[in-house]
Amino acid sequence: MIDETTPGHLLYLSGLVGLTFGKRKRPDRTGLLIKLMLFFPLMALLNGQQLNFEASVDRTTIGVNETFNLNVTASGENIGGVPRPELPALPDFDLLGQSQSQATNISFINGKMTQQNTITYHYTLRPKRTGKAVIGPCRLKYQNQEYQTQSIELEIINAGAQPAPSPGQTPLPGPAPAGPAQSENLFIAARANRTSVYKGEQINVEYTIFSAYNIEDLGNVQWPTFSGFWSEKIFEPQRINFQRIHYQGKPFLSALIKKMAVFPVATGNLRLEPMSMSVIVVQPPRDFFDFFGTSQQVRITSNALTINVQPLPDPQPASFTGGVGKFTMQAMLDRDSSIGGEPINLKVRISGEGNIRLIDKPTMPVITGAKVLEPEIRDAIRIRGETIEGDKDFVFPIIPQTDGEFIIPGLTISFFNPRTRAYETVKTTELRFTALKTSAVGTVSDASGMKILGTDIRFIKADARNLNQTGFSNKTWLNFVYPLAIVGLLISFYFQRHRRRIATDHSYARRLRSNRLVRQRLTEAEKKLKKGAFHDFYAFLWQAIVGYTGDRFNLETQAMTREQFHSALAARGVPEQDLDRLTAILDHCDTARFSPQITAPDDPAAVLQETKAILNRL
């Protein structure tokens, strides 16, 4: 078998002699091959060469359980880029395997290099039924030409009835190795030393071939994948050694093919799939003419085994990590001191017999002041007698973080011993190491200048009566402080502006005080009216009107004549109607104030109300 990683094109070019690669090629390999062939497309383009394309079989009469080879050959000059031929539909045959071989012949004639390639594809087929069968033409497309082979007619005869050299010969004596006879006289027995085990317990499986005939050329062995099991080979003979034995009262030739140890990794009824192989059965010569005897290729399959796997009993100890068998554990340190924070390796070795590969790492205790990293895992398997044993190493790097002496407590691991049907626990001894100058941890100080001297954190805070429930952060009133402060600032700013205006702007100041004054005077006037002091009433009313209009429009109304007053107010947009009325009231006041008689020509209260209304409108 050629490794996937082999640079195939090198092989492809290298041969002056035929190279055979890929005994049983999986279909996905063809893609690789085609790619490799396309790697040299120039070769294919060199010139249109004559291509010979043929198909042949190694024999045309075949027993139903026999295998035969179909060879498809393409040959020609510089045909490196030839694609894989297309097989016809083969409904009457099983395709058991395929391979490819290639021969390249380079010759120099008159300084010109010619390259003769022969590529042969071998297909191993097995007929499914008896009678006449036809292998249809194989097709090949190369350089826009289609090539095709001739059909091959085959005769499939009832198994074992090998075509005799001379026709009319009677069948061979004794049962032929075919059909049901095969299972009695030629078979492979898969035998397990036990069929009911605990999960992870070892089972030994022997594959032995039994044959009542002479057989040779055992090959094309197909092993199952043993899914659901971890499998290890215990014994496989270099060459198969047949022994004569009596088995179930019959003489047999028997040989051990392989002995395996399998460890179930799942529970339930697990099936060990059968293995199969091809053998050639040799019939002894019957007469003088049949000098070498006859031989026949037969494919035989072993029986399948069913293993009943029980789960491990509960309760599993906490330190159980999957080990089933009998183990010991020891721990060691590669050094006993670390300088400058170098890691120290703690090697934990689990050795013994059992499913050593399936054991997981033991739990590492916490080492205060040191950091334990994930382990590196190595294992080694040995076979002693028929049991699998070995060592599994877990190498934990330990990085000391502080100075001082460190104690690694003993590690414990539990495993299930199927002999005693109980869990057993093993423990390592306590280990010690010292660490010095660990990466300046001992001298490093934080920004406060605090020196770290100890090798441990400070102790926890004491019990509490109450705990802060929300943290200090949710003080919503803080959100109002800023707008409030800004508003305060604005208020003070406007206040200051107002004050400055009062001091500098006379009309502003007068206007500001006008309301207060007019209200005072009107109230005063009202009081006088109630007392019946009409003189004073009109005096205050006059004051109120003149004062207010003066303050309101910043006019010296006190000193104005009636006409001046009228025109000044009219110029400031006081409505004609109101102005006339106001002048009339003023006239009336003048008359009332200075007439000796105290009369009330109009209703004074109505005059007061009217004045108020007009002044309000200003």
Partner: protein, 242 residues
């Protein structure tokens, strides 16, 4: 069993009880139990002592990343507590990844100064300073006396300091600050398991989350290196800025 159920029932309504029970468990060196109790208490309380003790319990169970996270939360609530500062520093020295942080003495002092008051105190004091400053400014505006102006400017300077402190805390408590909480995390060149690994980060390494895509975060460690790591390997230190 009944007591356990009852106590769990009871604890879920009283964080103080859980806290004190956690302390008892811690003193008996049952750190995992202590973590359970503290974690329960912290659902309803946000107290520096609680975070500090929880950090200690994590540290004792060798979960450096979780411990650093707790200490940083505790420090945010009580920045002047020397125990918290000590243990945070101690835990940081326990990390596997020693990332050199180029911090000059001036910026260290500045940082310490800005973080002298906790975020809550900072915001409170900033508000008070602002209020005093505006009052002084108002007095100056009204009375036009130079003394008030100088005082107001002094208050404004103090307020600016608290403003800077507030920004410092905002950056400290940014939810993108995260810490590795698994013993080893592979930083990849892209947000998927098929990308090439860039570096391996270890428990306790503090990093900043730059981007989130699918199950992955793009994180950056101090110094600029970064990579995509699985979201469950890191934990954000703060869920919201303070």
């Amino acid at each position: 069993m009944m007591t356990l159920i009852l106590s769990v029932f009871f604890l879920s309504f009283n964080p103080v009880e859980s806290y004190n029970q956690g302390n008892t468990a811690y003193e008996q060196k049952d750190y995992n139990q202590a973590i359970t109790c503290y974690e329960e208490a912290r659902l309803q309380a946000d107290d520096p002592r609680l975070w500090y003790n929880l950090g200690n319990a994590y540290f004792k169970t060798n979960k450096i990343g979780q411990a650093i996270l707790c200490y940083r939360r505790a420090r945010c609530l009580a920045p002047r507590d020397p125990d918290i500062a000590f243990n945070l520093n101690f835990a940081r020295h326990f990390r596997v990844d020693k990332i050199p942080v180029a911090d000059n003495p001036f910026s260290q002092v500045l940082r310490r100064g800005l973080m002298y008051f906790s975020p809550a105190e900072t915001s409170f004091l900033a508000a008070i300073c602002f209020l005093i400053g505006t009052i002084l400014l108002s007095l100056y505006i009204i009375q036009q006396r130079g003394g008030w102006l100088w005082s107001a400017m002094a208050a404004g300077l103090v307020w600016l300091f608290f403003l800077a402190a507030g920004f410092a805390w905002r950056s400290e408590t940014n939810p993108d600050n995260a810490v590795i909480i698994v013993s080893e995390a592979n930083a990849l060149s892209g947000p998927g398991p098929d990308y090439a690994g860039i570096m391996i980060l270890h428990d306790g390494t503090e990093a900043r989350i730059r981007e989130s895509r699918g199950d992955y975060y793009l994180i950056q460690i101090p110094g600029g290196l970064g990579g995509w790591i699985k979201q469950e390997t890191v934990k954000r230190i703060f869920s919201k800025p303070r």
